[in-house]
């Protein structure tokens, strides 16, 4: 029973994660300007990647799940830094936008 539940949860998380990444791809192509594209990109590198990694619960393998947990922790800590570095570089290179 537990195995079936984990399969369903894992499958749902995988579908949600891949869906978020697909929408993020559409956003990166459609959004205007560097900063706006970064919003779409952070949808993929944050919730998208975390959902895909969390779908590892379906494997029921402790080693795989623990690696995925470490991956989620480091993704949560590093993705904002990468996004900030790109945004800061864009501002220094003169990306058009005045603070309000």
């Amino acid at each position: 029973m537990i195995s079936v539940v984990l399969d369903v949860v894992g499958g749902l998380l995988l579908v949600v994660g891949l869906g978020l990444m697909t929408i993020a791809l559409v956003g990166v192509l459609r959004m205007p300007g560097t900063y706006s594209k970064l919003h779409a990109q952070s949808l993929a590198t944050g919730p998208g990647v975390c959902c895909v990694l969390a779908s590892s619960v379906a494997t029921e393998n402790a080693a795989t799940i623990s690696y995925a947990a470490v991956g989620i922790v480091f993704t949560v800590l590093t993705a904002p830094v990468a996004s900030h570095a790109i945004a800061r570089a864009a501002r220094r290179r003169g990306a058009p936008a005045e603070p309000r």
Binding site: L38, L43, V76, L77, A79, P80, V81, H84, R91
Partner: protein, 162 residues
């Protein structure tokens, strides 16, 4: 003392997750390595006012609200970004978020919270002014953006990272 124990515990947990093992030898190695890292970190850190155990426990009590609140922010932020990806962003722009965190650790935590939420991108930090420059997808009313972010900071983070 509680803070030191928690750091050692957290680092040991991280080590055990990486080696993916709960054998006694691995646990002992993890504890020794974690204690070393914490000891080196304490030596390098500047002397600061000692915090009482009660204050540490009060801060720890705010952690569930911090994690849960950040998750709520991530879900609502993701929904907004999804809407903007499929249509066009209403009025993207840069907004200064003044005041808020006062310590470097608090600034870092605030930056990570803002960064992990897809509807805000941290562009610049002004530690002297205590302000963060963020890019938001709907900046037609900057005051509302500031009020929302400050309310989120006070409600979710201030207790843990004042």
């Amino acid at each position: 003392m509680i803070g030191i124990l928690l750091r050692v515990l957290a680092l040991t947990g991280l080590y055990l997750l990486i080696v993916s093992s709960t054998k006694p030898g691995d646990i002992a190695t993890g504890v020794v390595l974690a204690a070393l890292v914490v000891a080196v970190g304490r030596r390098r850190r500047e002397a600061s006012a000692p915090t009482s155990a009660r204050a540490t426990l009060r801060r720890l009590a705010g952690v569930p609200a911090l994690i849960g609140g950040t998750l709520v922010d991530v879900v609502t932020g993701s929904a907004q970004v999804i809407r903007c990806c499929l249509r066009r962003p209403p009025d993207p722009g840069l907004v200064w978020l003044p005041t808020g965190p006062t310590s470097p650790a608090s600034f870092a935590a605030w930056g990570i919270r803002l960064g992990i939420t897809p509807n805000t991108v941290v562009v610049d930090v002004d530690e002297e002014r205590g302000a963060v420059l963020v890019h938001v997808l709907d900046a037609h009313d900057p005051e509302t953006v500031r009020d929302e972010q400050m309310a989120s900071y006070r409600r979710r983070q201030q207790r843990v990272f004042p």
